[in-house]
């Protein structure tokens, strides 16, 4: 499984990933080839350096956070299963899935998509986006030209708008509520070609 020779994906693994994430066979193989092309060390897992080698990611304001999202708590390597699990969040929601009453919600449901985005804000995992966390994200997106106070007032206003229970931070439910008018299904979906 970890040796250099067996970098091929086995059928049963593909089946498992298919069940877990809902990707189709061809999508999984395609993403696997992408995974291997990123994996310079050829050990079946990706490290942070592998991600950082992607040039466009370096200029993305949220690049680091996105990379961190792939790595589970405390670990430094992510295998293909983990890679696919994260990417599954961005699969478009299909019509038949909307109506299916699955035991556990599929990874690409609206709530799970939003949860993924929420976790990118909420670094300390306390289920709340505090003012500091919001400020950090704003600072990353806006650049260096804007003063702290300016950003501070924007952050405050953002929290005021969203905060319904008065705890001066945005909880996940408040986050969902604020984005209810935004078409999250379209915004957070990538069309992985068949």
């Amino acid at each position: 499984m970890g040796s250099k020779a067996s970098t091929l994906l086995r059928e049963e693994e593909i089946e498992e990933i298919k069940k877990e994430t809902g990707f189709s066979h061809s999508q999984i193989t395609r993403l696997y080839s992408r995974f291997t092309s990123l994996d310079k060390g050829e050990n079946g897992t990706l490290s942070r350096e592998d991600f950082q080698r992607i040039p466009e990611l370096a200029i993305n304001p949220l690049g680091d956070r996105i990379i961190n999202a792939f790595f589970p708590e405390g670990e430094d390597q992510v295998n293909f299963r983990g890679f696919m699990r994260i990417l599954a969040h961005f699969r478009p929601i299909e019509d038949n899935e909307k109506k299916s009453v699955a035991v556990s919600e599929p990874l690409n449901s609206r709530t799970n998509k939003l949860l993924f985005a929420f976790r990118l804000y909420d670094l300390d995992r306390d289920d709340k986006i505090s003012r500091e966390e919001l400020l950090q994200v704003l600072r990353m997106m806006v650049g260096v030209n804007i003063s702290d106070d300016q950003l501070g007032s924007i952050a405050d206003r953002t929290i005021q708008e969203a905060d319904t229970n008065g705890d001066n931070s945005i909880s996940f439910n408040e986050f969902i509520k604020v984005l209810e008018k935004v078409d999250v299904e379209q915004k957070m979906s990538i069309r992985f070609l068949h």
Binding site: L38, I66, N145, G152, S153, R157, E161, E185
Partner: protein, 798 residues
């Protein structure tokens, strides 16, 4: 803002005195019109020969000059008759628009376009009854050169770029493939029907295939004017609106190519494969060429606007003239003028809006809306007039088959295309969506004008064509236009979201954009987000530097959005409550975000919150105040018209607030010194001063002149202690870079002990920063980013 109810909210007011006057005026204008036109029509054909004869007469007269009585008052209609008639038509159209709102029930059932056509029919009828020749009002010269461009420019300038680009693939499919399908299906089947038509062999059997195809290509294009007119009133959701509207705009290229192709070759009688290939190439040239011409003019306009900071008054002119020239240049090369106009407007908008002043922006917006609305009205009226006038040749078979085929082909086309498109879309189009798209395929005046352009000698069937075109137009506008609104309600189609975009949505949307771009890069998938991001980057790095004057382009979209929001709130505050009434009387419109009702710890009288100031300190304060005040004033004056509060109303407002605050602060201090009691003051007098005094920080806002305080204060400047909990509105008019746009909330949170200040803070104004650094100028309110401006999506016509 609750000002949107308009005349429809007045049920019984239709018969008041002013309205009767308006109706009387309408009738007068109509009568005058129908009298004047015969006069004008009778005289206009004679102008030229008469001109010659007049010359000769003058020549003769100069030879044998006989003295007549000097004419004190004379009538010379020919001199002015052309502009007079044009003005009369415009006046008629505008009065009609006013008139419709007098009958609110009618205008809610019947869309305006239908009413206008009926008016046109009436006017045409009047003129015909008067026995005179109807002026050829919808001749293609005036239509394509004068009436159509304003509407298209308005559409293109305010086109919501983001949804348009996101759905561009779908729109192109509908526009190109859909129109082609329509044209060939209708043309082919029409020809077949005509051939097998039994009975009268004379008329229809002579109809060749190519004229049929030409006719079909004219009739198959969805018309942007009609779509705009009808869809504006049904407030449908953004996706459907942009799909149908985008299709109507982009199919112009197809129509142009098909029209010219078939017109050229219907004389020859056959079309070869080579012609077909040339047609395809021609299509690409027409479409892309049109867009290119438009983009070039757009960049020129953007570049020009960079230098207009000294002559603000002609800024709107550049926008209009460059756009019109783009249209004319495209028409000159037989490229698609509509696409050129759209491209020009869409390209120039973000840069021009970053450069021009707020007033110019308002001017452009209102002029465009005014022209396009008048144009649209005129077009529909003229359609009615031309119907009465036009040479008609009714042929039951032809007309009914045409109408039927148009409907059928549209439905089949939409269903078929959606089936293919849905394979590539993330958000699929539902059956309801498909129905609306199919039902919204209205034909309009462009089809008629194109038919009008046909020459009689090449197309002996021209009259029949025109009749059929008019019937289809009437059918779609009347039947489909009238029933689409109830159908939308019936099918519970998603409506347009009226709420403004919140700052949360703005931030999170940008966040999601970055996130998706990152994920796409990780997957190696060069999708939508990737290219958009690349384009944005190039835009920021190279293009903006070139086209936007100095620092204005650097402001991130988020900050601009935030400022715009704050400014809107400030304006709303003023408009709603005058800003100086007791806060409890403030209407709920202001109580949106940013208002935190704070319960006072107790209803304290004023004096207790103020510390005692020794006399020496008072002097010190006054000198500091005076010098500070001057600096503040200078800073305000150094903003010229391009900066934040360009509106004189707003300028006055902020000045007034500042002055008022200062005066109140000063008064408080003076009272305190002299132990006077002041009469009650409006409770919203910002206790920012009080807060700052209490918290010990030096207030930046200092009273203007001490003299004012010593006078007996007039009422508005009197001071009343507050009793109830007061909503707090923070209005941040500071520049984006102001370092002391200190959030008063923060101050309070920081100084937790000073709870007494929580009572109320009326309008807190942040002073400009006092560092030497040059403040970044905030240019006009409109967003440099094309997508975040919700304002322009509002239907302007009530």
């Amino acid at each position: 803002m609750t000002s949107g109810t308009g005349p429809r909210g007045r049920p019984g007011a239709g018969r008041g005195l002013p309205e009767r006057g308006l109706l009387l005026l309408l009738v007068l204008v109509l009568l005058e019109g129908s009298v004047v036109f015969p006069l004008g029509a009778a005289s206009s054909p004679d102008v030229d020969p008469r001109g010659h004869s007049e010359d000769r007469a003058v020549a003769e007269e100069s030879q044998n000059y006989s003295k007549k009585a000097f004419p004190v008052l004379s009538l010379d209609y020919h001199h002015i008759h052309v502009p007079f008639e044009i003005a009369l038509w415009v006046l008629l159209a505008s009065l009609m628009k006013l008139g419709f709102h007098l009958i609110p029930r009618l205008s809610s059932i019947v869309p305006e376009s239908c009413l206008l056509i009926v008016v046109g029919l009436l006017v045409g009828g009047f003129i015909k009854l008067a026995g005179e020749k109807v002026p050829p009002v919808l001749d293609s010269q005036s239509f394509f050169l004068c009436l159509l461009p304003p509407i298209i420019l308005d559409a293109g300038y305010f086109l919501p770029i983001r949804p348009f680009m996101e759905n561009l693939g779908t729109i192109l499919m509908f526009a190109v493939v859909g129109t082609l399908w329509n044209a060939f299906f209708v043309g082919g089947l029409l020809y077949a029907v005509c051939q097998i038509q039994p009975g009268n062999p004379s008329d229809l059997h002579n109809l060749e295939l190519l004229p049929c195809l030409l006719f079909a290509s004219i009739i198959s294009a969805v018309d942007p004017v009609a779509v705009l007119a009808v869809f504006e009133e049904i407030h449908i959701n953004e996706l459907l609106h942009i799909l149908v509207f985008g299709e109507s705009l982009l199919n112009d290229a197809v129509t142009v190519v098909l029209y010219h192709l078939f017109e050229e070759y219907s004389g020859a009688g056959t079309v070869t494969i080579l012609d077909g290939v040339l047609g395809v190439i021609s299509f690409l040239v027409v479409a892309l060429g049109g867009v290119l011409v438009g983009a070039i003019y757009g960049f020129l306009a953007a570049f020009t606007s960079r230098f207009t900071s000294h002559v603000r008054v002609i800024e709107p002119l550049f926008v209009f003239v460059y756009s019109y020239m783009a249209y004319l240049s495209a028409e000159m090369f037989h490229l698609s003028g509509i696409m050129a106009l759209i491209a020009c407007g869409a390209v120039m908008r973000p840069y021009v809006e970053a450069n021009i002043s707020h007033k110019s922006h308002t001017t452009i917006k209102y002029f465009l809306k005014m022209w396009s609305s008048v144009s649209e009205t005129l077009i529909f009226i003229f359609l009615g007039v031309a119907t009465v006038d036009g040479p008609h040749s009714w042929n039951w078979t032809f007309v009914t088959v045409t109408v039927l085929l148009c409907l059928v082909s549209r439905v089949i086309g939409v269903i078929g295309l959606t089936f293919v498109i849905n394979k590539f879309r993330i958000v699929k189009l539902t059956t309801k969506d498909q129905f609306i798209v199919a039902y919204g395929g209205l034909r309009g005046a462009i089809a008629f004008s194109l038919g009008f352009l046909l020459e009689e000698k090449h197309f002996p069937m021209r009259d029949m064509f025109l009749t059929a075109i008019i019937t289809v137009i009437f059918f779609t506008v009347f039947v489909q236009g009238m029933t689409i609104k109830p159908l939308v309600e019936l099918l519970a189609v998603k409506k347009k979201q009226e709420a403004k975009r919140t700052i949360n949505e703005e931030i999170h949307t940008q966040f999601l954009d970055h996130l998706l771009t990152g994920i796409e890069d990780i997957c190696g998938h060069y999708g939508h987000h990737h290219w958009k991001d690349k384009l944005n980057r190039i835009n920021k790095k190279y293009v903006k530097k070139c086209l936007i004057a100095d620092e204005r382009g650097r402001e991130p979209q988020l900050i601009a959005f935030y400022h715009k929001m704050e400014m809107k709130q400030a304006i709303e505050l003023v408009e709603s409550g005058g800003g100086f009434k007791p806060p409890s009387a403030l209407p709920s419109t202001v109580s949106m975000q940013n208002i935190q009702p704070k319960k006072p710890a107790a209803a304290k009288p004023v004096q207790r919150a103020l510390p005692q100031l020794p006399k020496g300190r008072e002097e010190e304060i006054r000198t500091i105040l005076r010098s500070n005040l001057q600096r503040t004033r200078q800073r305000l004056r150094s903003y010229n018209r391009h900066t934040l509060v360009a509106d004189p109303y707003e300028e006055g407002f902020s000045d007034f607030i500042i002055k008022k605050q200062k005066i109140i602060e000063l008064e408080k201090k003076i009272i305190h010194m002299n132990n006077l009691t002041l009469p009650a003051a409006p409770p919203d007098s910002p206790t920012l001063c009080r807060a700052r005094l209490a918290s010990g920080t030096e207030t930046d806002f200092k009273p203007a002149q001490q003299q004012k305080g010593k006078q007996s204060s007039p009422d508005p400047q009197a001071y009343r202690p507050k009793r109830d909990s007061v909503p707090t509105i923070q209005v941040d008019l500071a520049s984006p870079q102001s370092p002391d746009s200190v959030n008063l909330m923060d101050e309070f949170r920081a100084n937790g002990s000073r709870r007494e200040e929580e009572e109320d803070q009326g309008l807190t104004m942040r002073p400009r920063g006092e560092d030497g650094r040059r403040e970044q100028l905030t240019r006009c309110l409109s967003d440099p980013g094309p997508s975040a401006d919700e304002d322009e999506d509002e239907p302007f016509l009530p």
